[in-house]
């Protein structure tokens, strides 16, 4: 009985200790700010996870080398959820309760984002810039959640409209990944074509991870498409183009920002020459880069041993937005104060060619626009400004 009482006392002491900590601003001490990142380093989007994390680490290291944010060092705590919501929830709880993360940044993958967001928001932490096209990441308006990734639906609507008007395509078709990503793109493409009074002539899906797209391409060819919009990621983009070229079909294709990657032309070579893509952030090519961008590329390469890609830029940009907002918030850093500052800062374009990100008190989506690019001579070239 005595032992039981002791156990109960010990448990209540632990619980009391936990609630005493909650009175302070979680993750902010005199010396540091803790930022949590639930990533995918081992799952289906792991090829995005590592460069995004490294980009963020690089920006935080730079801020720390410059004396931190109001004297506080930034510490990024990374957890790998591998696109598994169960692991995501456990990781988010660890970051909330053990690491006391002040904010969550760039959580990766819709299932993980949707499962972890309530954990984060219920704990009163900031939920910033998750990698998910889901509207719930910015709607309904919540004081602590912000999104700066242009929704597929919005920018694909503009991109499809622009492409069809520009090329006078009559028979637009869609090849889409059979998940939330593909559905979002489909809605955007349909909306874009709808505004021009043109139909989506054919659509065909594939399951994530499919490597053989021959039947889908044959079906699109049979429908006599003159423009194929691709809601694919890198490998499927290359597979679709390669299959079309293999059967001698010279059709124009337009891929979303998920296929806008240097890996697309590195993997695809000549077969992807001429492919159109939507860019929400330009790829950082060393060749032809301005001196500041070239310096950044060199520093990244020296730090991580690989060349940066568009996802490294994304990670760096997100971390930069965090640093600038935290600096502008001042020494009294709280989630509410940070959110108020983020609502009034304007992030104008930068050396990378990022779009201007802007939030407001009643709109927590920072950007809705992308621009068109095309693979020419083995690299992406931007061919329009951000499309409205």
């Amino acid at each position: 009985m005595k032992a039981l009482r002791r156990l109960a006392l010990a448990l209540s002491a632990v619980l009391a200790g936990a609630s005493a900590h909650a009175a302070d601003v979680a993750g902010v001490s005199a010396r540091e700010i803790v930022v949590g990142h639930v990533s995918d380093l081992s799952g289906p989007i792991a090829m995005l996870g590592t460069p995004v994390r490294d980009g963020m680490l690089m920006r935080f290291d730079e801020a720390n080398a410059a004396g931190g944010v109001h004297g506080r060092m930034l510490r990024l705590v990374v957890e790998d959820a591998g696109y598994d919501p169960k692991r995501g929830v456990l990781a988010a709880r660890k970051l909330v309760q053990r690491d006391k993360a002040f904010a969550f940044i760039a959580t990766m993958g819709t299932p993980v984002v949707m499962a972890t967001m309530p954990v984060v928001l219920d704990a009163g932490r900031l939920h910033l810039f998750p990698f998910s096209p889901h509207k719930a990441t910015y709607e309904p308006l919540h004081p602590l959640k912000f999104q700066n990734f242009a929704p597929y639906q919005d920018y694909m609507e503009a991109a499809t409209r622009h492409m069809v008007e520009r090329g006078d395509y009559r028979r637009s078709c869609l090849l889409y990944q059979d998940d939330d990503y593909g559905q979002e793109v489909m809605r955007g493409v349909e909306a874009g074509l709808g505004k021009l009074g043109r139909p989506l002539v054919e659509r065909t899906g594939y399951k994530r991870g499919a490597t053989d797209l021959s039947s889908q391409i044959a079906r699109l060819r049979a429908a006599d498409c003159d423009l194929v919009v691709l809601a694919t990621v890198v490998r499927e983009t290359v597979a679709a183009m390669a299959e079309a070229r293999r059967i001698g079909w010279q059709v124009d294709m337009l891929v979303t920002a998920s296929g806008y990657s240097a890996q697309t032309h590195e993997l695809g070579g000549d077969t992807v020459e001429g492919l159109y893509g939507v860019s929400v952030l330009p790829h950082p090519y060393a060749e032809g880069a301005n001196p500041r961008l070239a310096g950044w590329i060199e520093r990244y390469r020296a730090r991580f041993g690989v060349a940066p890609n568009v996802w490294s830029v994304m990670g760096y940009t997100l971390a930069d937005m965090f640093v600038r907002t935290a600096e502008a918030t001042g020494r009294d850093l709280t989630p509410a104060a940070f959110a108020r500052t983020l609502e009034r800062i304007e992030f104008a374009g930068d050396d990378f060619g990022s779009p201007a990100y802007r939030f407001s008190a009643d709109d927590h989506l920072g950007n809705r626009h992308g621009r068109l690019a095309q693979i020419r001579n083995g690299r992406w070239e931007l061919i329009t400004d951000y499309l409205r």
């Binding site: 156990l7 010990a10 448990l11 632990v14 619980l15 936990a18 380093l41 081992s42 792991a46 996870g49 590592t50 994390r53 680490l57 705590v77 990374v78 957890e79 790998d80 591998g82 598994d84 919501p85 169960k86 692991r87 929830v89 456990l90 990781a91 709880r93 660890k94 909330v96 309760q97 053990r98 819709t110 299932p111 949707m114 499962a115 309530p118 219920d122 889901h134 719930a136 059979d178 998940d179 939330d180 593909g182 559905q183 994530r208």
Partner: protein, 315 residues
């Protein structure tokens, strides 16, 4: 003897929980416990089908999915979570019964393959039936609540999961001691001999799958509330194999195996993540480090306890 068999594991689990609460913090530990217990309920389904009835099941995740979707849709339609849970279990049971039908014609690995096909069909159905399931976009599931009270804290969620686990453990223990349990074991050991003794193997298998499916469906109903968002891809083949792995790590012949297996499959990667934070910078950042360590732990368990962790403890 029987009292010791109950008390010993109870003491071990209480100590583990107390240790976790003291070292990791209450909410974190209870959050872990919630998922460990929920997975244990799902894993019990595998223990019944594989360990007791001796059938190969490669698509157990589909039964969890059926339970999760049934629960989510019922709660969305205004049914209270508690009365919805038995229906979620029934959905799992129905799935189990359907998946067992090929057992009349197929056996061994071929039958296992048919359960795999069943899981693929369920996943595809959940994606395609958009008007009901919202397809790949998934469903948001509200917190578990009862008469105005909401299980919002990890401790409350862990308590509910634990109560359900204890209840189903008691039911399963009764089942295993019953005529049906003996029939399952007879079919597992020798189908022809069982038939010669008057046992109908097809009926025994169907019941094993219905019970196993119901357990996993029930776990799915809870899982939907604890995760708060379900989408078809969460219940893919990886999840099915995770459940199978869980049962083999814990031990398929004993009910307690599901709990031990769930502890390894759910909590071990998290424990590794906590320990990893103590590693120097570059090590801590290595992609896949947790998976590698987890793999090493699983191999170690399989080598050292080939019959599963629960072998020799509890039932």
């Amino acid at each position: 003897m029987r009292r010791a068999a109950v008390l010993r594991p109870l003491l071990a689990w209480t100590l583990l929980l107390a240790l976790a609460v003291a070292s990791l913090g209450a909410d974190f530990a209870f959050g872990q416990a919630t998922l460990v217990v929920t997975y244990a309920i799902a894993g019990l389904g595998v223990v019944i089908i594989v360990g007791q009835a001796g059938q190969i099941v490669l698509g157990q995740g589909a039964f969890v999915a059926l339970g999760a979707y049934a629960q989510a849709l019922l709660v969305q339609a205004g049914v209270a979570p508690l009365p919805a849970l038995p229906i979620a279990a029934a959905a799992g049971a129905l799935g189990g019964a359907l998946a067992s039908l090929p057992a009349g014609r197929l056996g061994g690995l071929y039958f296992g393959m048919s359960t795999l096909a069943f899981a693929l069909i369920v996943e595809e159905l959940l994606v395609r039936w958009e008007s009901l399931t919202h397809g790949a976009a998934g469903l948001v599931v509200p917190a578990f609540g009862l008469a105005g009270w909401t299980a919002g804290t990890p401790a409350a969620q862990a308590a509910i999961s634990l109560a359900v686990l204890l209840a189903v453990l008691a039911v399963c223990a009764r089942l295993l001691a019953s005529r049906l349990g003996r029939a399952w074991r007879a079919v597992r050991e020798d189908e022809a001999a069982a038939a010669a003794c008057g046992i109908a193997p097809a009926a025994a298998k169907l019941r094993a799958f219905a019970v196993g499916g119901a357990l996993s469906g029930l776990a799915g109903g809870l899982y939907a509330h604890w995760i708060g968002f379900i989408s078809p891809e969460q219940f893919g083949l990886v999840f099915s194999f995770e459940l199978l792995m869980l049962a083999f790590i814990g031990g398929t012949r004993r009910l307690a195996g599901a709990a031990w297996g769930a502890l390894v499959v759910v909590a071990m990667p998290q424990l590794i993540a906590v320990l990893r934070d103590a590693l120097p910078g570059d090590w801590a950042r290595s992609a896949g480090l947790e998976l590698m360590l987890f793999g090493a732990v699983v191999v170690g368990v399989v080598l050292l306890r080939p019959q599963g962790l629960a072998d020799g403890s509890g039932r």
